[in-house]
């Protein structure tokens, strides 16, 4: 058995009814593979991992894997995860969301989770579209692109997820793609290891709902687009801004140290119990 197959067998649920829900060419399976490899490399036990999701194509990820898994409501995954983490700080709580899930209906929860710095890992799979409902534009659909609810053109401007996470205060922010699979493994691994709120945005193709209506080609062509338009963060720093037009930066955008919420809350407990000065 190949190494990759062994890993899949180790972590997939054997009592779950397959097949999975994802379309041919979807990038979410690659993200799941990267997540499994990162967890395996970190040597985490299945019992200490909690995988939480919201609603949409990405929301179906937890059901397939043998962890403590929670498929919540649309946009609310981070808030559920916050409750789990604060009660059981020893668990590794990983939240997987889509772009509509995390940035539209869950946008408020997202920025506040970043600000609050509870020790969670957020993986946001950005395929620029609402896939499960059939291809409506999302907060990350680029200006001018088409979707079933912007049949002429999208007149809204897209959020840049990773940059938003940096501004909102996340202590670790990375952006990867499903084409740059090794980098993705490493970004997810670092985000899980990081103490505090870590974010990994993953650019992921949706050839069925986003690619087709915009004539972007099949999954392979969409991944080639990722390869050609991704600019590593070190190189991006040396380029004039105009050369980054229409491109996106990949790598670690931010890695900084801030006290995590749980540590701060321990100080509150000490103050409330008349121990220490809360400093």
């Amino acid at each position: 058995m190949k190494e990759v197959t062994k890993l899949i067998h180790k972590y997939l649920r054997h009592d779950k009814k397959f097949p999975h829900v994802w379309c041919p060419g979807c990038g979410i399976g690659i993200v799941l593979g990267a997540l499994i490899r990162a967890i395996d490399r970190l040597g985490l036990s299945k019992d200490e991992v909690v995988l939480v999701s919201g609603i949409g194509c990405s929301g179906r990820m937890p059901v397939y894997v043998d962890f403590n898994t929670l498929h919540t409501t649309h946009g609310r995954a981070l808030a559920f995860a916050t409750g789990i983490k604060l009660v059981k700080p020893n668990l590794k709580v990983i939240v997987v969301m889509g772009d509509g899930d995390a940035l539209a209906i869950g946008g408020n929860h997202f920025i506040h989770a970043a600000r609050r710095n509870v020790d969670l890992t957020a993986i946001i799979i950005n395929n620029h579209i609402y896939g499960m409902t059939g291809g409506q534009f999302s907060p990350t659909t680029p200006y001018g692109m088409r979707a079933t609810t912007s049949p002429y053109k999208n007149i809204e401007h897209a959020f840049r997820i990773a940059e938003l996470a940096v501004t909102a205060g996340a202590v670790f922010v990375g952006r990867g793609t499903v084409y740059h699979a090794r980098m993705l493994d490493s970004l997810i691994e670092k985000a899980i290891q990081k103490q505090g709120f870590g974010v990994v945005e993953v650019m992921s193709p949706c050839p069925v709902q986003y690619g087709r209506i915009n004539r972007l080609g099949d999954a392979v062509q969409m991944m080639k687009w990722q390869k050609e338009n991704a600019v590593p963060v070190e190189r991006a720093k040396r380029l004039p801004p105009e050369e980054l037009d229409g491109k996106f930066v990949i790598g670690v955008l931010v890695d900084r140290e801030l006290p995590i919420y749980q540590e701060e809350y321990e100080k509150v407990i000490a103050l409330a119990q008349g121990r220490g000065d809360g400093g």
Binding site: D66, T73, A79, T82, G83, L86, A272
Partner: protein, 377 residues
Amino acid sequence: MEGEVLLQGNEAVVEGALAAGCRFYAGYPITPSTEIAEAMARRLPQLGGVFIQMEDEIASIAAVIGASLAGAKAMTATSGPGFSLMQENLGFACVAEVPCVVVDVMRGGPSTGLPTSPSQGDVMQARWGTHGDHPIIVLCASSVKECFYLTVRAFNLSEKYRTPVILLLDEVVGHMREKLRIPSPEEIEVVDRPRPTMPPEWYIPYEDTPSGVPPMAPFGEGYRYHVTGLIHDIRGFPTSRPDEIGPFFERLFRKISRNFADIHSSEAFQVEDAEVVVIAYGSVARSAKRAVIEARREGIRAGLLKLLTIWPFEKPAVERAASSARVLLVPEMNMGQISREVKRVNQGRAKVVTLNKMDSTLITPQEILEKIKEVLG
């Protein structure tokens, strides 16, 4: 906290919750429930529990459900507008069978309404607010003492039946101060959720049991399983098979409907020989009691049935009253929500009269007394 204290209704909710074992609170400020959050922020860290102020009420109940899945007894509190926002995840807690307590201190609505005025407008929202058919347990307090004891009971029922339990107060009950003797821990019955006793490989998270309530394993203790808001099979996995969906709903309703007798609670006051029985709940029940006492002084045979459990509706006690009394009088600070239930249960036996008030003020004992005289006269 123990012994005799002067407490606000909202503060008594906090002490009741802590006595019941609540160690997690997530909430968002809203009048007239804010004192619950403030007291929790002060009290929970003293006990090593978690208080967190979330970005809105949607996130608050989500965090509460997460905390409960991790094994904590958890609650939130809010008022009308926030209660509306919580309905989405309240449904999640019903379907995923996650114990949690939601306190709704009712204020005038709809919308922003009358933030500092009492109301009983959320009785039906508490029953039907989340979409889809579902069972729910709703209690209602009329005094500071009941705030304490019904909060304990809300947690106990929630744990016992793995269901969200809603505790309704109204602004008057939430804000008024009364003497309360807080019992010692050994005086309080505390119920904990059923836990699996079998090894993890034998654990089937949503398997039917004689009680209909499957044992619940907290996350991170070896029982890895899936929790979802989708309708699921006994292993927790989403299903679209009618032969799995049907039994799921059957069990979800059965675990509550088989136990109506355990869940129901009400207090009867001088109803045995009463010609007119006032059926009331919340702060209105206080006015009703005074009105009944005054009526008795004047030789009128009046009685009071105070509802403590609002949903599932107290059918047996109301039926008894309907069989013995000539008139059932239902005063409410809404345009008639519980009176519809009373009429449904009454089935034409007694005459059902309503007394509805929505002008931001309480229903007074005099108003109820006058109505009693009017309906008998």
